[in-house]
Amino acid sequence: MSHHIVEFKNVSFRYPDGTHALRYISFRITHGESVGIIGANGAGKSTLLLHMNGYLMPTSGSVNIGDLYLTRQTRQEIRRKVGIVFQNPDDQLFMPTVYEDVAFGPLNLGLDDTAVRDRVEYALTLVNGLELKNKPPHHLSCGQKSAVAIAAVMAVEPDILAMDEPAANLDPRSRRLLINLLKTFQHSKIIASHDLDLIMDVCQRCIVIKEGTVVADGPVSEILTDKKLLEENNLELPLSLQKR
Amino acid sequence: MHMADALLSPAVGATMWAGSVAAIGYSSKKLKENIDNKTIPLMGVMGAFVFAAQMINFTIPVTGSSGHIGGGMLLAIILGPYAAFLAMASILTVQALFFADGGLLALGCNIWNLGIYPCFLVYPLIYRPIVGDGTSAKRISIAAIVSVIIALQLGAFSVVLETLLSGKSELPFSTFVLLMQPIHLAIGLVEGIATAGIIIYVKNARPELLEANLSFQPLDSGISLKNVLVVFVILAVVTGGALSWFASTHPDGLEWSIEKVTGKGELAEATQGVAPALKEIQERTAFLPDYGFKSAANEPSNENETPHWPGIEAGTSVSGIVGGSIVLMFILLIGFGIRLFKKQ
């Protein structure tokens, strides 16, 4: 299924103020892979994710999603394939009730009312949030907001799921629920996080970014146990591997 | 400076509503024509920003009292007139609903007083010309301060007119104006300084955020003098039409105020601008004797449209008081009854 492939080729990006946030990034993620993206604060992880569906366009290099080459023309289509969940759920729940929020994507796809309702209920059930349906987002707890933000992306049934720091501010139980939820998602997923334990639980592969370049790319079991590599990147061994 | 429902007459309330709704419709149409998809969330979030910023108080030097920003000019500078006007209208709507600031009927007045003036009059005719190409901090400051002051003065003056035309207050025109304008001059000065400060701060910290709006805005995406005039002609026609319609069908509110005004002979200029239909009423009502309470009770002059108008006069008042108390008690009983019933 070549259409679930994510491929970056020599992507560079420079913010208008001159910050060179990505430099010649290349990697290829095939269907069904789950990939963690790690690196120090300011390494360029969020910037990278923003390229996945064309919010930012590479200054040079190219991004391919499935068969599509990312351009201003194709980004609408690419956005249907790649669902991105950003760090702050408040920025993503912009509609006045949970139901409307989750329905926003399907409605924009042009589905009819019953199809929309089915999608919304399916997505909310997935994250265990069906009973939140009629609440306004500002009446939800942190963990509930995160769950709904994920449901809202799931409701458009993306082929590829990308998440930026999904577990920040969640209590350990909610974090664990999220990890289990991510494990059940079958398609490709790409997770940027400082929570290396979460990456270790959810991903098979791991890409380390440093000052905008890829410095390592390999199986989680190798990278997250390579103490030297991690320390060079402002990281440490996952806590569960650290001896007390 | 929110106008309040309790001071309004239906005619004035409805007219200002009509004017404001027309302006909302017009702005929405203009926006839709050349909208950038980003604008809708930006407007909403900026509206929330003004709302939140209005709640941060600062101490005003010397006086020690506290002030906050109004936001109309700030929005106009950031969003351009049409989007800013809609955002301002939304802010006032939320305030009317959640804080009952002013009230729902006075909302029309408030949108007019605090939205139309800064966005459609002051921004294009005063702010933009002073600011020029938007690169000089000094010009920006002067422009912001002057604009905020003028917008507030216009707003305050409108409050005076709206209150007097409604005829619920006894304040004579001159006193009222002398009461409102200087206070708002002071408020405007403080607010203007704060607004200028914020714009300069943003200009220094993140100049690119303002660039799109401050400098070299193409005239058709901003607003031109012609557009301003067109808007105002349309609004004048709409409100004039509404006003004269109300004047011909529901004279009570207007009659009262105009009578009051002509009786004291102070608002002559203010009524000149209004449709000729008003002048007729004015002339007609000028013949009425000075309004006194007893005379209203005795003379049927006012009762001809509404024959059942419950005038208060000696004798009937007693029954009025008795009846009033009974009605109130009855209403309270119903309330408590339902509450008790619901508790079970």
Binding site: Y55, Q76, I84, F86, Q92, F94, M95, F104, L107, V116, P136, V156 | A4, D5, L7, L31, K32, N37, K38, G44, G47, A48, A52, A53, M55, I56, N57, F58, T59, L86, I91, T93, F99, A100, G102, L104, T163, S169, L171, V190, I193, A194, I198, Y201, R206, L209, D252, W256, F293, K294, P310, I312, A314, S319, I326, V327, I334, G335, I338, K342
Partner: protein
């Protein structure tokens, strides 16, 4: 009112509006129209009218008791609300000193009458406006406005405003808190600091708007806010609106209190 109190006040009304009672279930359009008619009727009374206003208290009292809205909350808000009307109204007793004989022996000035009238109208209008929002969720009001024909751009950004008020107010509250904590009652509240705080907040707000826009794009936003068909007029709504119209008509044009008073007096004597 301090910042926190204002914030909690909005929060509280908002919470009330998500209750589930008969009044809450009524169509927002019906409530909007009923409220507007009510307000227009109330302010249409002449400025010396007092008695005829009293029956109109029935509507807020019914809303409050059926909608299970705490009386004290509404009362407190009515008292706290912007004092402009009262400030202006209080001049009336000073300026209009024509004497009115209520009944033989009791005379007051007409200015007091008109002041009380303003007072009553004030309480009536403020409380019904608050009760409208306490019994109708704000999104409900917005969808009602949309269906009544207001432009969709206006309504969409009204909804955004509502959504982000809570987010931004919390953010602002945290900033103000941080300022207060390190001000030690001193100069931290001057205009300079205000400008900086607001400027920072402003920049962050624009950045947030950008992120929100990204989130919308990622879910297929192309410029039109999609809308769900939400409300259907039911018999209750029609009955509610009709009874409101009849109620308003009757008490506007028939001096009910007077009639009741006369009747009672007649029975007693």
């Amino acid at each position: 009112m301090t910042f926190d109190e204002q914030y909690y006040n909005i929060g509280f009304i908002d919470q009330l509006s998500y209750k589930d009672t008969f009044v809450h279930r009524l169509d927002p359009r019906a409530k909007l129209i009923a409220t507007l008619l009510f307000l227009f009727t109330v302010i249409s009374f002449s400025k010396y009218e007092i008695n005829a206003l009293l029956p109109f208290f029935l509507y807020p009292v019914l809303l409050m008791s059926i909608g299970e809205i705490p009386l004290m909350f509404i009362l407190r808000k009515v008292i706290l609300v912007s004092p402009f009307a009262l400030f202006i109204g209080v001049f009336n007793p000073l300026l209009d000193s024509t004497h009115v004989v209520i009944f033989s022996g009791l005379t007051i000035s007409a200015g007091w009458l008109s002041f009380f009238s303003i007072l009553l109208k004030f309480v009536l209008t403020v409380s019904t406006a608050l009760l409208l929002i306490a019994t109708t969720s704000f999104p409900g009001v917005c969808h009602g406005l949309r269906q009544l024909g207001l432009p969709s751009i206006f309504v969409s950004q009204l909804l955004f405003l509502y959504r982000y008020i809570f987010v931004l107010m919390e953010e602002t509250m945290r900033i103000v808190r941080a300022r207060n904590m390190r001000s030690y009652g001193k100069s931290g509240k001057g205009i300079k600091i205000f400008v900086r705080i607001t400027g920072t907040l402003f920049i962050r707000t624009i950045e947030r708007a950008e992120r929100v826009y990204f989130a919308m794009l990622s879910r297929g936003f192309q410029g039109d806010m999609p809308s769900l068909k939400r409300f259907h007029i039911r018999t209750e709504d029609i009955i509610f609106t009709l009874s409101m119209i009849i109620f308003l008509y009757v008490f506007r044009f028939y001096p009910a209190t007077e009639i009741i008073g006369r009747f009672v007096q007649g029975v007693l004597s």
